[in-house]
């Protein structure tokens, strides 16, 4: 267990999780999504009845399933970081694989949702609500797909029996990115599925 220096076991008083650079990405993306949230709010304020009616067409159940899935992957990812710090590669690998599986489930559910909506005649051309629904959840789904690639990279690192400081930093960076994917969805879900 000498692989993990004592400092890594319990996080010290002040320490940036992951690389500084990843926080530019995370906070930057959060700001851009904040603009998207405000666009949704403006759409709602513009015509509440239409927003509520369009919202009825969404499948709330699938939205809830995806929220539970993403929140759970965030947990498995946080635990994976712990496992990596405690130098337990097998546990870490299992947790990262579980996170990736969750990401795949999320994407699959999203595809089912999109297909259902299009078959029912709701497309990005229907009105503002569906335009933003497709664009913003599509942008988020793009984050999920990039996240899968990031998690794949993390998986390659945590497989190793011994992790250095830089390796752990990369794992933390990947985890921070993934938590951001979760966090953005939580607001999108609230605004798109449960507002009206």
């Amino acid at each position: 267990m000498s692989a993990a220096p004592p400092a890594e076991r319990e996080a010290p008083v002040s320490r940036t999780p992951g690389e500084t650079g990843i926080w530019i990405f995370v906070l930057g993306d959060m700001v851009v999504f904040a603009v998207c949230f405000v666009v949704l709010a403006v759409t709602y304020a513009h015509d509440r009845a239409a927003y509520a009616a369009d919202q009825q067409a969404l499948h709330l159940g699938l939205g809830i399933v995806n929220t539970v899935v993403l929140v759970t992957t965030s947990l498995t990812m946080a635990l994976a970081v712990r496992a990596a710090r405690l130098a337990r590669p097998r546990t870490a690998v299992r947790l990262v694989v579980a996170t990736m599986a969750g990401a795949v489930v999320f994407a699959a559910v999203k595809v089912v949702e999109y297909t259902d909506l299009v078959v029912a005649g709701h497309t990005a051309r229907s009105d503002d609500f569906f335009l933003y629904y497709f664009c913003f959840t599509g942008l988020h789904l793009l984050h999920v797909v990039i996240g899968l690639a990031v998690l794949g990279g993390v998986l390659r690192i945590v497989r190793r029996p011994v992790l250095g400081r830089a390796d752990l930093s990369l794992v933390e960076s990947g985890a921070s990115y993934w938590h951001m994917v979760d966090l953005l969805w939580l607001v999108l879900f609230g605004l798109l599925y449960t507002l009206g």
Binding site: E19, T20, G21, I22, I24, F25, G28, D29, V32, V35, C36, V38, V39, D128, L131, Y132, C135, L139, A166
Partner: protein, 246 residues
């Protein structure tokens, strides 16, 4: 070759005993970035295009817009034209640093290609704007077509910038962490910037809303990110240059 080098050495010696000529040229190149931003956004202000005109304007409205303050608009397009040229110097300043990263030769070249195309991405719309403003009394539909022909690439021609930002991002992240030429966060920052300009590609689908060329996600986010990129990169390169001079 030898003569050139000899001439240069003589030149350096003539100007300053410490050989700061190269440093001075680099400084000018680095300072071209805030100048570019000032010219670009200054031009938009002079043209009265902050916020930008709506893409849903009728041909008559577009023609009326060009007929009003025509000379001011022409001046704005000249400023825009000059601004485009200004960005070339900054491409050279970035290239100077990327060349110093071992193994990043191809990426340095790619940055220059992206940046060079980027000059055209500003200069060509500027020329078409000039053409549109040249005869405002012509058939309004023609003016509208020229206006579209300039505005769509002006906001939407993001591919050169994408090439440039990705090349810088990858080159910075591949640096030896022990001896970085540029700070590592700059790599993440460039990749993030590249990613953010992507919504701009949606503008041809819309004439109203957040994704139209005057929309919040296409104009405001992309303009902020793009303008901000020049200022942040300016600040980074100036710091590197200052550290080098010490």
């Amino acid at each position: 070759m030898t003569t050139v080098r000899a001439a240069r050495e003589r030149d350096v010696a003539a100007v300053t005993p410490r050989g700061l000529t190269e440093h001075r040229v680099q400084t000018w190149c680095v300072w071209s970035a805030p100048l570019f931003v000032a010219l670009l956004f200054g031009a938009l202000l002079v043209a009265g295009w902050v916020p930008p005109p709506s893409p849903s304007q009728t041909p008559g409205q577009v023609a009326a817009m060009y007929a009003e303050h025509t000379d001011l608009k022409r001046l704005a397009f000249v400023l825009l034209f000059l601004g485009g040229g200004m960005s070339a110097a900054f491409v050279a300043a970035i290239d100077h640093r990327l060349e110093q990263i071992p193994g990043a030769r191809a990426l340095a070249r790619l940055q220059v290609i992206g940046g060079t195309l980027g000059v055209f991405a500003v200069v060509l719309p500027a020329i078409v704007f000039m053409v549109a403003a040249y005869r405002p009394e012509r058939n309004p539909e023609i003016t509208q077509a020229l206006h579209d022909l300039a505005f769509i690439p002006f906001i939407g021609n993001l591919v050169p910038f994408l090439i440039q930002a990705i090349a810088i991002g990858v080159a910075v992240l591949m640096q030896d962490p022990e001896r970085p030429v540029l700070p590592r966060w700059v790599g993440f920052y460039n990749l993030w910037t590249a990613f953010l300009t992507l919504p701009g590609l949606l503008l041809i689908f819309f004439r109203t809303g957040a994704f139209a060329w005057n929309g919040v996600l296409v104009f405001w986010v992309v303009a902020t990110v793009f303008g901000g990129w020049f200022l942040v990169m300016f600040w980074v390169l100036r710091d590197v240059l200052r550290a080098e001079a010490r």
